[in-house]
Amino acid sequence: MKKVISCLLAMVLMLSVSFGVSAEGMTKEEAKAKARELIELYSYSSEYEIFDEYGRGNWFALEDFLTNQIYNNNFVYEDWYDIWKKSVDDYSYVNSTVTNIASYATEKKGMFGLAANLENGSLVVQAVSNGSPAMKAGIVVGSVILSYGDVTVPETAAAEDLTAFQNYFAGVDTAPITVKLPTGEALTATITRADFVEDEVMEDITIVGDTAYMIIPSFNLNSDEYFARGYKKAEEAGVKSIIFDLRTNTGGYVMPCYNMLNTIIPEKLPMYYDKYARSIATSTSDGLGSKTWRPDIVCLTTGNTASAAESFAGTLQYHGYARIVGEKTYGKSVLQDMLSLSDGNVLVLTTAEGFLPNGKSWQGKGLTPDYVIKDDLTTHTDEVLDFAYNYVDGKGTEVEEPGYYSYIYYLKEDSEPEFLDTFAAIKQLKLAKPTRITYVSKNGMKMIVDADDAYGAANLYNYFGIYSDQSSSAEKILKEKGLPEKARVIMTATEGDYGFAPTVSFKMADKPTHFYYYDSVKNSYTEFEPPYVYEDGVLRFNIETGGIIIASPEEIK
């Protein structure tokens, strides 16, 4: 007899619009809207995977459905995988565990130490590992591969030639190879797989007069240990300057890079931060570097200097510890996390972007050298290194330590949610100084948040920053309603109690005397008296709760 869950639910189920709308004859705008809707649906669905053993959450059902689809070949794996592949950036990919770990190990096992890519119809050597059979044979970056085994590379090589090259070397232990060196000479050698330690080169520093020269080949798992020993040698030799050669360094792990910077930097400073979708991971130096031995540092770079190597050189340059000589770097400040899939593959996925404390990143831009110079590959001399030897001045740098660690983050939207993980991470670091994050909205208005306060407030997340457009339209509307012409209106994200007092800061022509929260429902002003500073046309004051806030040079009646 009684068959309805509840009238409303029943009605809603019946009325719920079936959105399997035909996709035919769509305009681009419509297609885009549909794409967005689907992505949001997936995104939200995955956010709520439920692990109830009876409730069968969304993803369990999806698993069954996809299994059937793939099994019956209605909607094949390739279709879906293709969409995924196109949705990620160039640095994200799926790989087998072995390949991935091996490529950033300090100790290379049974490798040729050679990587090539297709460049203008030629197979060009992109990387030669230090200490590798390839390097010992005399092959250098920029060499063009002419032949290998019994294969002659065609005049105009294509993608399949690169694949054939890779497959050939994956299947042999020893092989003859002929290359044309950048100097124009041909080189024929037989290279044999071998074990070698790439990072040993860092201990092998060269000292010329008062200057030490160190090649930093990569940021492998244990690079920091080799670096520390090499750096120590330079200190013991008492050199006044040191040249780090990062020209073939394409990056690697974050940890060794961090440790190496920490070995060098004598002061406690903010170094850089990584912005994830839901958090900011900050890095500071421990002040472990020698305060008495401060060498002048020069980093050598080329367009191949990438990622962690840019992070290394960029951080030293930012704080004035180092100058960069050479060519503009590659420009990759995004970083990847490795996530294990249940089938044993590893997903390498771009998850964050690295920034210097002032909020600038080198993504797509690269680092600009203090002195630009390009090596002439056709000569046997190293013009860049020769220049660097003359460029060093032996004058180390001392940096004044600030009272707190400050990071500026330019909001991509007017305001963004800051999940608690940022502040939890900072708290767990037990830093020597407080950390402040300044969120800069599109119109330049700022909100400054003390990490410790924000964490203590135990808010689940808050939106930080100030709505640019909505602030100005609220200002316009309120002025029409009689708000004094000289008052400023700001609208912060998330109305309600922050539980602590973020600082907001913006330009204002007149010194304010009164502050109000505006209640848009009741159309009423509630005065509050925040601590504030007004100087050089910039107002700075504390708010305890978000909402529509008015700073006015005259009283509002």
């Binding site: 719920s16 996709a23 669905s45 409730g55 990620v88 990587a115 990056g251 991971a281 490795m338 993504q363």
Partner: protein, 569 residues
């Protein structure tokens, strides 16, 4: 070290290999399943890390572009993808137009006829009518089959007829001229004109029995926006009338908002007590009542198989405190809640987000809440057998509930793992802060091993991700390996703390909780030695522990793999 996240920042040159494990023609089901799982994981991980912008970044921005192009060139693609999404969600999840959604949990009907349809029937059938509705006023009764509306004849297909009728209603100036076949098979015509009315006035009223001892409150219209206010009125009048027992009729109550539920529990409960918990991936919602009621009648709740969701929680909470008994039939068993998300196009996604459990970890999902006494209403009679029974069942003796020292919530781990991001822990901490009580969480693995943590301490330790519970599967695996290689005796206990696969192992191997967690497990022997085991090495530690009646309880300062033995290794 001042760097937490060990990401990889490298320029990958021509090293990336595309996975080649594509399904071929004769793929077996296991392979298809593996690929399905991989696909899901890829999406999941990618969505977790959206929001990068600019050159070389921004997974989802790129996906928008790609899909847009794909839809333009292949109109079937959207249908396929959409089909996959639809089939991937449970029956309570839906995408709704905003207006429909807003109206869903209000009892104020605007321009409605008030006819309820029996959506499980094969042909368009009226289930009943709403209180105060025009249909009720016209005398329409449940069980009537609709033969014609506004001159249109029913086709016999439920869905077709439903939509045709709805359209006709709006096109005919909110009027339905119905030809119905009544339950007694007679044919009769009705005219219903839409009106605006409040469909729930009943929950504001308490009917006091003639002897003055029992009150009856019917809350049958869901837990709508203002149901708690109405219910509070009825509850107050029951108290004022001095009744000893209250019958709360939750039959056909399909649930609604949790804030309404909370307010109703506040009204009924006499003390500050934990009520229920809801856990999702990022949220840990621990509800408690702020009850101050001095009125403690004996409560009997009437339920049937349409009592669902919030109404089931209400019932189960009061029953868990022995404040109420229930009578009728087993409830529907919808122990999952939905979160509402507004998409950028304004539509509202109502998605199943969390299972609901009582503080003891009991979930009635799919099982329903069983009544203390099963009483079935006989549909062929005019009398309400269930209600009549309840009047005789009340014993007029209320139960006193006392406020506990701390709020305890138990969670049963379905797949032997549990992880909580800091933001979820912040929910729990807020419960502790607001209530002024210590909040203690216990995570129970499938073999009964428990891990107990104090939320405040866990929060203060400020680990970005907490892992709770024992990973049963891997514990057993490690134990088998060690026993097989003769490293540890057969009787040893091996416990590995939870380890979510989403995150990098290296990050968690340090394992420092920063606060003591309590582990409770069964042990056949008096434990002599405790070790942390890692990579073939054993590190001894001496935790505070108690062993009695075959149960071992000890404190753990950090996570990892723990080996417990009788003799030294």
């Amino acid at each position: 070290m001042k760097k937490l996240l060990s990401g990889i920042v490298a320029l990958v040159i021509a090293l990336s290999l595309a996975p080649s494990a594509f399904a071929d023609a004769e793929d077996d089901r296991a392979m298809a399943r593996e690929q399905a799982i991989e696909t899901i994981e890829l999406y999941e991980f990618s969505t977790y890390y959206e929001q990068l912008e600019g050159e070389g970044a921004g997974n989802w921005f790129a996906l928008v572009d790609y899909l847009t192009e794909a839809f333009l060139n292949d109109s079937e693609l959207y249908k396929k993808l959409n089909g996959i999404w639809k089939d991937s969600v449970d029956r309570y999840s839906a995408l709704r137009e905003p207006a429909v959604f807003d109206a869903a949990y209000s009892t104020y009907r605007v321009d409605q006829p008030g006819v309820l349809f029996d959506f499980e029937a094969d042909v368009l059938t009226i289930w009943g009518t709403e209180d105060n509705s025009p249909a009720r006023a016209e005398g329409i009764v449940g069980g009537s089959v609709i033969l014609e509306w506004n001159g249109e004849k029913a086709t016999g297909d439920y869905e077709t007829d439903y939509y045709a009728l709805s359209r006709s209603y709006y096109e005919n100036d909110l009027t339905l001229n119905l030809k119905l076949e009544l339950p007694d098979k007679t044919i009769k015509d009705y005219t219903v004109k839409g009106a605006t009315y409040d469909a729930d006035t009943a929950s504001a009223v308490c009917d006091v029995s003639s002897d003055g001892k029992t009150g009856y409150i019917r809350v049958s219209n869901g837990f709508n926006e203002d149901t708690h206010e109405k219910f509070a009125k009825a509850w107050k009048s029951a108290e004022d009338a001095g009744v000893k027992s209250v019958i709360i009729d939750l039959r056909n109550n399909g649930g609604g908002y949790n804030k309404t539920l909370d307010a109703m529990l506040d009204t009924v409960l006499p003390a500050r007590v934990p009520t229920y918990s809801a856990v999702s991936k990022n949220e840990l919602s621990l509800s408690y009542a702020n009850g101050t009621s001095t009125f403690s009648p004996d409560i009997v709740i009437l339920t049937n198989n349409e009592t669902a969701s919030a109404a089931e929680i209400f019932t189960t909470v009061l029953k868990s405190y022995k404040m109420a008994r229930s009578v009728g039939t087993t409830t529907l068993g919808k122990g999952v809640g939905q979160s509402n998300k507004t998409l950028s196009n304004g539509k509202v996604l109502s998605i199943t987000a969390f299972p609901v459990a009582d503080p003891q970890g009991f979930t009635y999902n799919l099982k329903g809440v069983t009544p203390d006494v099963e009483v079935i209403d006989d549909p062929t009679t005019e009398t309400d057998e269930v209600l009549d029974f309840a009047y005789g069942y009340v014993d007029h003796a209320g139960v006193k509930v006392t406020e506990p020292e701390s709020f305890r919530y138990t969670f049963y781990l379905p797949d032997d793992r549990f992880s909580l991001p800091t933001s979820a822990l912040a929910f729990a901490k807020r419960t502790a802060d607001e209530s002024g009580k210590a909040v203690i969480l216990t995570f129970v693995s499938s073999d009964g091993t428990k891990m107990t943590v104090d939320v405040k301490k866990a929060y203060d330790a400020a680990l970005p991700i907490y892992l709770f519970g024992i990973d049963k599967e891997n514990s057993d695996k490690i134990k088998d390996e060690l026993v097989e290689s003769g490293k540890i005796p057969e009787t040893s206990i091996v416990l590995k703390t939870a380890d979510p696969k989403l995150f990098d192992d290296r990050f968690f191997e340090r394992g420092d909780f920063g606060f003591p967690a309590t582990i409770t497990t069964t042990s056949e022997f008096e434990p002599g030695y405790f070790y942390y085991y890692k990579n073939g090495e054993y590190e001894e530690f001496s935790p505070a522990h108690v062993y009695e009646n075959g149960k071992l309880r000890f404190n753990l300062g950090r996570g990892g793999t723990i080996v417990i033995t009788k003799e030294a290794l």
